[in-house]
């Protein structure tokens, strides 16, 4: 079956071959959770370095990279089916790009696609507030709040690709980009 792409399709095609590539091995959720924090901190440390000439720019770049990486990797750890999580990161044309690839089950795929359909005709800021109000009355997990904060509060551009594999799992590839401060010492 042909891959299904949601969001900004051109982002899904951008090559990150010149960036960094990391693989998180399979393991218990608790350890994976710790690794998601460590990995996002590590990505923020190395990718924010070009902005270290200005403290303000560095803090902004470090935080935005750290938040985006943490949300995408947390989602991958929380919802993955057994297997590796592939992470690619790089700075291209003034934006930080992160791509995370992992297997998910069909129920997770369905829930995420429902959210993505709602995003096609609604402002992410409005959906974010709606989701927060919903969460306040029922503690749902997998609410998509991380994605909505990225789109609403960080002006992230995002693409999601769903592909079926031979094990009846779905391979989800999420690509996200956030603008970096204009000045850098690259």
């Amino acid at each position: 079956m042909a891959p299904q792409i949601f969001g900004i399709e051109s982002l899904a095609d951008i090559s990150l071959d010149s960036g960094a590539r990391l693989t998180l091995s399979d393991g218990p959720l608790q350890l994976g959770w710790k690794h998601s924090g460590m990995t996002s901190d590590f990505i923020a440390e190395i990718m924010a370095l070009p902005y270290s000439r200005s403290r303000k720019d560095y803090l902004q770049a470090h935080h935005d990279i750290g938040y985006l990486s943490n949300e995408l990797i947390e989602n991958a750890v929380k919802f993955r089916q057994p297997g590796e999580i592939l992470i690619e990161a790089g700075i291209i044309d003034g934006s930080f790009l992160l791509r995370v690839k992992n297997a998910i089950d069909s129920a997770t795929s369905f829930r995420l696609q429902q959210l993505l359909h709602r995003l096609q005709s609604n402002e992410p800021g409005i959906l974010l507030l709606e989701q927060i109000e919903t969460n306040a009355i029922s503690s749902t997990s997998g609410s998509g709040l991380g994605l909505l904060t990225l789109l609403s509060d960080y002006d992230a551009r995002m693409a999601w690709t769903f592909e079926e594999n031979e094990d009846q799992h779905i391979i989800l590839t999420t690509t996200a980009a956030v603008a970096m401060p204009p000045s850098s010492n690259r």
């Binding site: 935080h63 943490n70 947390e74 507030l129 927060i132 109000e133 306040a136 709040l145 991380g146 509060d153």
Partner: protein, 112 residues
């Protein structure tokens, strides 16, 4: 009372709650003890409760959900003034704290 681990600390002094460090817990269940601590304070009968976030360097989206839930809890109590003290030193605060004001327009948001 205080709740902490190697990355964060949250504690209350009279009617002010202090948040310190990096909050990266796994979801609503993991944040439940913190929610209970602060929700309890909201219901103690104070006229004003302050969330002091100036030491809160980072929190994940589940942490944002925690702050939003507590804001909605305070909104339901008509006679309680909720003050949220933040800082522009931690970039997430200027991006995400204004959402609390959208949830509860009477909230006093102080970003310095």
């Amino acid at each position: 009372m205080e709740i902490s681990d190697e990355n964060f600390r949250v504690w209350a002094e009279k009617n002010e709650v202090f948040f310190d460090g990096v909050f990266r817990l796994a979801g609503p269940d993991a944040y439940a003890p913190i929610y209970s601590l602060i929700s309890g304070l909201l219901h103690e009968g104070h006229k004003q409760v302050t969330f002091n976030l100036t030491g809160l360097e980072f929190l994940n989206s589940s942490g944002i959900n925690l702050l939003a839930k507590l804001t909605i809890e305070a909104r339901k109590m008509g006679d309680l003034l909720l003050v949220v003290k933040g800082t522009n030193q931690h970039p997430w605060q200027a991006k995400s704290l204004p959402n609390l004001k959208k949830l509860h327009p009477l909230l006093d948001l102080r970003l310095a």
